[in-house]
């Protein structure tokens, strides 16, 4: 495929704006030419149509990317958000002129609090990791407000997403990694010895990153609370349990939610997401972003009294929030539970149909995702999880998440989501079984998969050793 710059011809273009009026710029000007593409609109359109053709969206087929919750993104969400009454509103308009926006935010906060069992929520964080950072700063601010400066450590299980330790480090905490036990649960003894007067908090995903609900969760949060720390809930896997159980009832004090996972807003090729941070009432005073109150029927924006400061400009990824609220309005109370139940059912259904051929990392009822391990296969035949994932591409299927969590070797993590039909799951199972046969018949060939895509396996070493990160105009 040609780059947009390779299609450019000097002098081409469409007049989108009238010529500028005479004006004099009395500040230093750029001297180097501005080498943006010069294309007819038709070319622009075709260029991106070609790029779209080599991009895989959720509608392109089954997308069982573990820990990413690639559910269907309903079309009505776009309709709801793409109204001029939302898109063309300036964030610094007077309160009276943005009552609709504030109403959307207030409702979204209320519903998300109810689902997570929290008392307050900020919509300012722009993504999950951003929500983690925000939540950890709430914990930091709380300990400080009590004069407790000794709490410098955050406990993170070794199965955690990389964002957890990275967020803790950004919030200025030292990370204490604790091991998981043989079931993938938090090792209670390790937690007991790690928790102490220097513990600021614990970060946990539950269901955890191997797809299991940790049955000791109440004991875990109690250990941390008894040591004087707070419990942080990473909402990455909320899709499995919403309406079934709530982090707030499990002993968590702070949560973040990924609207772009659980609440069906599209991933956009990597973003924008939205990562609201919720907390119990005693942390509310530290929340960043806009706090909404009502005075004489008018919604007003204010700031929390001891806020940690902003984590982003303005109110957050507002248009993403509109989409999540539309989704919640559609599915409603019963739909929340039905969504979670069927996400878990679809995962168990697939796991049960694969477990005779693919070793599961843990032998238990899974939640919304399950982890297979190809360690033995790699050892016996040299065929890796990567090889198997790439073979799926030849059948038009998006591979599962590879090599995560780190505690499972040669991991493939499958998350079907609730929006897939039984037929799709059956077809996917057939493909998984077929590539296993292929791998056994000709292991060597697997290292070359995929065979059918225009672009084959890229040379990542070359890309990283001598990085080329922009087009070379040649002059």
């Amino acid at each position: 495929m040609k780059l947009v710059f390779e299609r450019s011809v000097p002098g081409r273009g469409t007049a989108y704006l009238p010529e500028a009026p005479e004006t004099t710029l009395d500040f230093p000007l750029r001297e180097r030419p501005l080498r943006l593409p010069e294309l007819a609109e038709n070319q622009v359109d075709r260029h991106y149509t070609e790029l779209a053709g080599e991009t895989r969206g959720v509608n392109g087929g089954f997308y069982p990317l573990g820990s990413c919750t690639m559910k269907y993104n309903p079309a009505v969400l776009e309709t709801a958000a793409n109204q001029p009454g939302f898109t063309d509103v300036h964030p610094l308009q007077p309160d009276e002129s943005v009552q609709g926006c504030l109403e959307v935010m207030r409702l979204a906060e209320r519903y998300l609090c109810e689902i997570t069992g929290m008392d307050a929520m900020t919509l300012q964080p722009a993504a999950g990791a951003h929500g983690e950072f925000t939540g950890l700063l709430l914990i930091k601010a709380w300990h400080r407000s009590r004069g407790d400066l000794a709490r410098t450590k955050v406990i993170v299980p070794d199965s955690a997403h990389g964002t957890n330790p990275a967020s803790a480090a950004m919030a200025g905490f030292e990370v204490v990694n604790i091991p998981s036990d043989s079931h993938g649960y938090v090792d209670l003894n390790a937690l007991r010895s790690a928790a102490g007067p220097d513990t600021a908090g614990l970060m946990l995903t539950n269901p955890n990153t191997v797809g299991l609900f940790d049955p000791h969760i109440a004991e875990i949060t109690r250990i941390v609370h008894d040591a004087g720390g707070l419990n942080y809930y990473d909402g990455a896997n909320l899709n499995a349990i919403m309406g079934i159980a709530r982090p707030g009832d499990m002993g968590f004090d702070v949560v973040h939610i990924n609207l772009h996972k659980t609440f069906a807003t599209p991933h956009g090729g990597g973003g924008p997401g939205s990562g609201p941070s919720g907390c119990k009432a005693f942390l509310k005073q530290f929340l960043p972003g806009i706090r909404i109150s009502e005075e004489n029927g008018m919604l007003r924006r204010a700031e929390a009294e001891s806020r940690i400061g902003d984590v982003r400009s303005f109110a957050g990824n507002f248009l993403v929030v509109v989409k999540a609220l539309a989704y919640l309005a559609m599915i409603g109370r019963e739909g929340v539970t039905e969504t979670a139940s069927n996400a878990v059912l679809n995962a168990n259904y697939m796991m049960n149909r694969l477990k005779d051929l693919y070793p599961m990392a843990y032998d238990a009822t899974c939640m919304h995702e399950f982890v297979m391990t190809l360690e033995q296969m790699k050892h016996d035949t040299g065929v890796s999880a990567l090889d198997m994932a790439k073979a799926l591409l030849d059948y038009g299927m998006h591979p599962p998440t590879m090599y995560f969590p780190l505690i499972v070797h040669e991991a493939l993590m499958v998350e079907p989501t609730e929006t897939e039909t039984m037929e799709t799951l059956d077809e996917a199972v057939d493909v998984f079984r077929k590539i296993m046969e292929e791998a056994k018949a000709d292991p060597e060939r697997m290292h070359e998969r995929p065979l059918t895509t225009r672009v084959r396996r890229p040379d990542e070493v070359k890309a990283a050793r001598k990085p080329v990160v922009r087009y070379d105009f040649g002059t």
Binding site: Y403, E460, V461, A464, R465
Partner: protein, 126 residues
Amino acid sequence: MNFPKELKYSRTHEWVRFQEDGTAYIGITDYAQDQLGDLVFVNLPAAGDSLQAGEAFADVESVKAVSDVNAPLSGTVKEVNDALADAPEKMNEAPYDAWFVLAEEITETDGLMTAEEYEAFIAEEG
């Protein structure tokens, strides 16, 4: 695999080439580069930084992993091989030419092994 006799080796797979003037070059062993796979980048310390035996002083990157490189001795960084950053493949191709730092004011050198000892050590470890 190649383990030159004139070098000393640490249990965390670094080599040391002691110079007559009391300084020493430090790098990673052939075994280390083989285990790490294709290396794409190295984070080096700055001249003047202190080295603490057994503690990380640099890290090396492959495409999908980062690994600490530990100081095999205590001392001070006299010189840094900046050229390595532009040619990370040298760590794979010629690990004993691809020195990371030249150390001076060396104090602690305990526990370093000879080539024979190191070879026996990795045979046992692997």
